[in-house]
């Protein structure tokens, strides 16, 4: 097509002659600095941005958690009000799940998947940028509710008439991360739309909705990329496990998110337009919200954990000096977990009185899902078994992952028994369970991934002593904080209560938990600070400091814009490792070189289109609460969105040719390697 013949190949994009898009605007290709980051379509830069935002929100969520723990350190404490407490635990959970774990996983998807499959980009580079900015604005909207809360506490809003409409109980979301109806919904007959909670809930609804759009768009893109853009010879059963887990996660996202999308639309209609989906006074069934939420919510917990499992499955073989034990079984059990994940949602609802048959069925299915999870753990152990183990920081964190995650699995299986769960539900025992899987599991896995791939991303090595110290603090602090909660829960301490009276026997362990939480918080902060320092100042390292196994380690660090100077052809799983140790397993196509490789042009349009969500996200809650004219902000937002997408469509993909180091071409590799 015409657009890529505009230019001769260039060695660096800043040498490009000005090119106009089909629209007549100059494309932001030659830019550096801020403009470059805002308009980038490079999956590596997008990954770094995802990672930076995610780490920031981890710290925000961490501060919220420490405020909660400070309040609970002592009985009858009044460090924060009950009202504030509700907002804190809700925003803590929502932040950690949607703004911490999911985007940090997305950071790894972005950075690694194209490199691991031997591709030069994702299938839809501009859509990828759109996902990123939509996530960023969704996160802004969700957290903007805090601005209103603080402005309200400071009394700045009092002079506005519409302030009264906004004041209910809270400005930041306060219904818990699953926002159960009817608390999040309405009551009263025929469109009176009386609400239990304030504008925070509307911020939550629209925020999660926007974040869902970002996740969906990214998932479509990654499934396409993985299925369609594999290098020659990269069959599905040669894909690195991380890429496999990304694929399964993305499939879970596209099938699970629609349930919450619909639930959020219904709740929004209840609150903003007086519909009756969950309004108990008009015949709505609040329990429907629970079903819809958990049909999304349980797959969601696997959306959170599978990427971390993939990361660990890359790290363990590297530092055990062995191939992953039972690769096909790990992949298959990942798929089974994904599949069964859709059939267990009601284990979150045992106490709603489902009836004996459903309760028994969901109980059994939940027990069944522990089987593929256990299979994975045994495979990881098999990988380490008999290996020459190197205890590098990523390895230490991965071992921590296995151990902590396993504990979380044990308490999970305990929940699967409905009679036992009816004692544990809504107690600190559940908090202990999901923090062992989410924090001890997912966060440790993601941190392991950060320490493992940082040298590849920035070409610099994180400081090891600090990394060990931080890992130790995280694991120790974590167990101190959450281990006792098993006991507290079984001793009857309820979840989501802002304080407790002395004399229940809960004082000691709460105090210990708070100390643990501070150690944990300091550890995470130290680990992140170490990484941030590494990104700019760390010691330079070689392109393959760990003796990696997969294709990304064959590239220079930092990875050049075009990824592969010549497209690779692989003959086996773990081709890079086998190629260095067992004869020729990678060849290169005769492309690139002086002729250059095709690069997609940068664009403003994804950013412009996603700004629409910012408007809609601010306008929607105001509109629901009856602030005059707020509906126009929403309409403006939709207009901006449609305009952005239209401009994006007609500007064309553009593109230019980038020279790469000389093309050599090399003979085809030997066909297979025995495993």
């Amino acid at each position: 097509m015409s657009h890529d013949s505009h230019h001769d190949p260039v060695a660096c994009k800043t040498e490009l002659a000005p090119e106009r898009s089909d629209l007549g605007l100059i494309r932001p290709d030659r830019t550096t600095g801020w403009t470059d980051w805002l308009t980038t379509v490079d999956h590596k830069k997008i990954g770094i941005l995802y990672g930076a935002f995610a780490m920031f929100y981890f710290l925000v969520g961490g501060v919220e958690a420490l405020a909660i723990r400070t309040q609970l350190a002592r009985p009858d404490n009044d460090f924060i009000t009950a009202r504030m407490y509700n907002q804190l635990f809700t925003m803590h959970g929502t932040t950690m799940i949607f703004l911490g774990v999911m985007p940090l996983s997305a950071a790894f998807f972005n950075f690694l998947v194209p490199l691991q499959i031997g591709a030069r980009d994702v299938a839809f580079p501009r859509l990828n940028a759109f996902s990123l900015w939509t996530f960023v604005f969704g996160a802004f909207v969700l957290n903007a509710s805090w601005l209103f809360e603080f402005a309200h506490l400071a009394g700045w809003l009092n002079s506005f008439d519409w302030h009264k409409a906004l004041v209910y109980t809270d400005f930041a979301p306060a219904n818990g991360w699953f926002s159960y109806a009817p608390l999040s919904g309405t009551f009263g007959q025929n469109g009176q739309a009386l609400r239990f909670t304030g504008v925070g809930t509307d911020f939550w609804i629209i925020g999660i909705q926007v974040l869902g759009i970002a996740s969906l768009a990214a998932s479509f893109n990654f499934i396409c990329t993985i299925i369609n853009m594999r290098a020659k010879g990269m069959t599905m059963m040669r894909l690195p496990v991380f890429t496999w887990m990304t694929l399964i996660t993305a499939i879970l996202i596209i099938l699970a998110f629609p349930a919450i999308t619909v639930a959020l639309i219904e709740l929004m209609f209840d609150r903003a337009f007086g519909a009756n989906f969950f309004n108990p006074s008009a015949g709505g069934q609040p329990v429907l919200w629970q079903h819809l939420f958990w049909i999304f919510g349980h797959p969601e917990v696997y959306i959170l954990v599978l990427p971390a499992m993939g990361i660990v499955s890359e790290i363990l073989p590297t530092f055990s000096g062995k191939a992953l034990f039972g690769y096909p079984i790990i992949v298959f059990s990942g798929a089974v977990i994904g599949f069964l994940g859709f059939a267990v949602w009601s284990h979150h609802m045992f106490t709603t009185g489902l009836g004996p048959v459903p309760t028994a069925a969901f109980s059994l299915l939940t027990m069944a899902i522990a089987v593929p999870t256990g299979v994975k753990i045994f495979n990881w152990l098999g990988t380490i078994w008999g290996g020459r183990v190197r205890f590098t920081p990523p390895m230490v964190l991965s071992l921590g992952f296995i151990w902590m995650f396993m504990c979380g699995g044990f308490s999970g299986v305990m929940h699967s028994s409905a009679p036992a769960d009816s004692q544990q539900q809504d107690s600190y025992f559940v908090i202990a369970h999901f923090h062992y899987v989410l924090l001890g599991g997912v966060l440790l896995g993601l941190m392991a991934g950060l320490y493992f791939w940082f040298p590849k991303i920035f070409g610099r090595m994180p400081n090891a002593p600090i990394a060990y110290l931080a890992s130790g603090m995280v694991i120790l602090g974590f167990n101190l904080a959450f281990g006792p909660m098993h006991y507290l829960g079984l001793a009857g301490m309820p979840r989501r209560t802002h304080t407790y009276h002395a004399g229940n026997g809960w004082e000691t362990w709460n105090y210990v938990a708070t100390i643990g939480a501070y150690i944990l918080g300091a550890g995470v902060f130290l680990a992140f600070a170490n990484l941030a320092w590494t990104a700019f100042k760390g010691k330079k390292c070689s392109s393959d400091p760990w003796g990696g196994r997969t294709l990304e380690w064959s590239l220079p660090s930092p990875v050049p814009e075009y990824n592969f100077a010549q497209a690779p052809i692989v003959a086996t799983r773990d081709a890079y490792f086998e190629d260095r140790h067992g004869g020729k397993r990678i060849a290169y196509e005769n492309d690139g070189g002086e002729a250059g490789v095709h690069m997609p042009s940068q664009s403003w349009m994804p950013l412009v289109a996603s700004t629409g969500f910012l408007f809609a996200g601010f306008g929607m809650p105001m509109m629901a609460m009856g602030v005059p004219h707020a509906g126009w902000i929403v309409i403006t937002g939709l207009g901006v969105l449609i305009l952005g997408i239209w401009l994006w469509a007609v500007e064309g993909p553009g593109g230019y040719m980038l020279k790469t180091p000389a093309a050599a071409g090399s003979p085809a590799p030997a066909e297979t390697v025995a495993h």
Partner: protein
């Protein structure tokens, strides 16, 4: 309108174009989306089979409300639009841009008729006393069919833009045909969803003497 990095030169691993694949993925996701909405409606129909109470406090049955002839007509129109869409896609593949334009105009026209019928139906139902606020039935009915209507409207908008874009001469060749085919996939899907909605929301109300949900009107009278 092409989006992919190098869709026109790099063959994909599976041989399926990126755009077609991503549209299929979107449709899979949209299946779950409509599945959830339709389930909500059916669950509440089962729970409250006897319709709704209008503003004057009269009990109203859904069969009194529906104008099944009109809805059958608009369903037929939507089906025919799918037929025209198929013709448009095949015209594009043969490079017959004029025939493409003619057929796409037909699709747009039929789509607009369908939307017109829906607007009429909504206002009619509203005057009959069914509102989004006065009953669960109103909420589920309007949100479900309205969401489908939004899908149709987006499709119409997409095709209108494509129609005008075709005059710039840039909608041609393999990529142009692909773009049209992807729009066609979307259109057919939206059509199929309507067939399901028409069956599950409208037709079943007329099954058996009491309607599918048991306590509808004894005999369907107008």
């Amino acid at each position: 309108m092409s989006e992919t990095a190098d869709a026109h030169d790099a063959p994909t691993s599976t041989g399926i174009d990126h755009k077609k694949l991503i549209m299929w993925l979107f449709l899979a996701s949209d299946c779950m989306f409509f599945g959830t909405l339709i389930s909500t409606h059916l669950l509440y129909r089962k729970l409250y089979p006897s319709g709704f109470t209008d503003a004057e406090g009269h009990q109203r049955f859904i069969q009194n409300l529906f104008n099944i002839e009109l809805t059958s007509f608009s369903t037929f129109i939507l089906l025919m639009s799918s037929f025209l869409m198929a013709l448009a896609v095949s015209a594009m593949h043969k490079g017959e841009i004029k025939s493409f334009r003619r057929n796409v105009l037909g699709v747009i026209f039929f789509g607009l008729i369908f939307l017109g019928c829906q607007v009429f139906e909504f206002t009619h139902f509203y005057h009959q006393g069914l509102t989004i606020q006065n009953s669960v039935l109103g909420s589920t009915f309007y949100v479900l069919t309205g969401t489908h209507g939004t899908h149709v409207a987006i499709g119409v908008l997409w095709l209108i833009l494509m129609y005008f874009y075709s005059f710039t001469g840039k909608l041609g060749g393999h990529m142009g045909a692909l773009d049209v085919e992807v729009a066609g996939l979307y259109w057919h899907f939206v059509d199929i969803v309507w067939i399901i909605i028409f069956t599950a929301v409208y037709l079943v109300e007329y099954l058996g003497p009491n309607g599918f949900w048991g306590t509808g009107l004894p005999a369907v009278t107008k």
